[in-house]
Symmetry: C2
Subunit: 212 residues, 2 copies
């Protein structure tokens, strides 16, 4: 009953774009409304606060990222190393085209909010923690497979290793943003598979070849 609306979706999309290229605190409710062509009264009809919009934007970002990037790569039959390198390749391409449009490397939208808001908003921090938890799960599954295939030592800790890989990805994004250079992402991304290789099974020289 009543009328239908696309205002909510437009606001979420604007939040992803504006907060994604600047920051949470640098983008106001008014600007979000102007950008999406929604009046402020409608904003507060759909979202109790700017924080709640951000929470939903975070969900949308994460779901799109899974659907468009993570699922296709990690449900494929690529080798572990190829999975990680296509992830880096996609990340490079995205940051590269963003820079062509806006002049700026914007980095990872989730990582950006993590650093800006983790100490200020416990609910947002928890949402990001949960996203990071899901994200590392993709990596963990690959690592467990690699251990079962004998490509990684049985005493590799899949959880810590997958967290380390995510940490490295986020760090590489940060450097790309700080240097405003998408090339940084592809250059540093090459080293990603190395995060696992100290836990190589036996004849290390040969295994290093297999992974890197």
């Amino acid at each position: 009953m009543g009328r239908t609306s696309t205002a909510k979706e437009k606001l979420i999309q604007s939040a992803i774009e504006l907060i994604g290229t600047r920051s949470y605190n640098a983008v106001g409710v008014q600007e979000l409304c102007d950008h999406s062509g929604v009046k402020k009264g409608s904003f507060y009809h759909f979202f109790p606060s700017k924080r709640d919009l951000t929470l939903e934007a975070l969900d949308t970002m994460w779901n799109k990222f899974k659907e468009l990037i993570l699922d296709p790569i990690f449900n494929s039959d690529m080798s572990p190393v190829d999975k990680f390198s296509s992830l880096i390749k996609r990340s490079y391409e995205h940051q590269s085209s963003t820079k062509d449009c806006t002049g700026c490397v914007t980095g990872c939208g989730i990582g950006n909010l993590a650093l800006e808001l983790s100490t200020q908003d416990e609910i947002i921090r928890q949402k990001i923690e949960q996203i990071f938890e899901e994200w590392t799960q993709y990596f963990e599954d690959v690592i467990v497979d690699a251990i079962n295939d004998g490509d990684l030592s049985v005493d590799t800790d899949p959880r810590s290793t997958s967290q380390a890989i995510l940490a490295y990805m986020e760090g590489v994004s940060l450097m790309g943003k700080a240097f405003n250079d998408p090339g940084m992402i592809s250059r540093l991304g090459e080293g990603m598979a190395q995060i696992c290789i100290s836990k190589i099974k036996t004849a290390a020289g040969e295994q290093v070849q297999r992974l890197a």
Copy 2:
């Protein structure tokens, strides 16, 4: 001539504390003044803008970090691996005690500003880029030594590798902040030396031992 003052130093210190534990945009000039017991008029006597205070705070942070952490470690006679692991250890201790005081892991003050402001303030981005450049130089020197000592392959790229190490450190800080868990820093920090080891010289198995 005229009177002397400690207001400037107090403002810089407050900026480091307040912006460091929250964010640039979350801390206002008034709060900076209240926290340091300086009137707003005095603020603008010393700094033309909040941005300029932040630029000076960034300088002070970086100089203290060099003096207290980087110089003692990297001018010592430790092995390369020991240098990196004491850096991680110090980082863990710092984040851990910060959490005890404030309840929050605050991460790296420079990395925080990098993600928040790189797309919004080109001058601040450039200052951070320059700090990161200096920072990686410490690592690069160690890597060059390791190459000369035969511990790393001659085709290791010292610049990319040192940038990769800084990226990993920043990423680990980000994860520590996102999970609000200082333990993350020590746990993930263990894997840091692995960033270099794929470029291991010849008998990889033996070299891995030497590094990790």
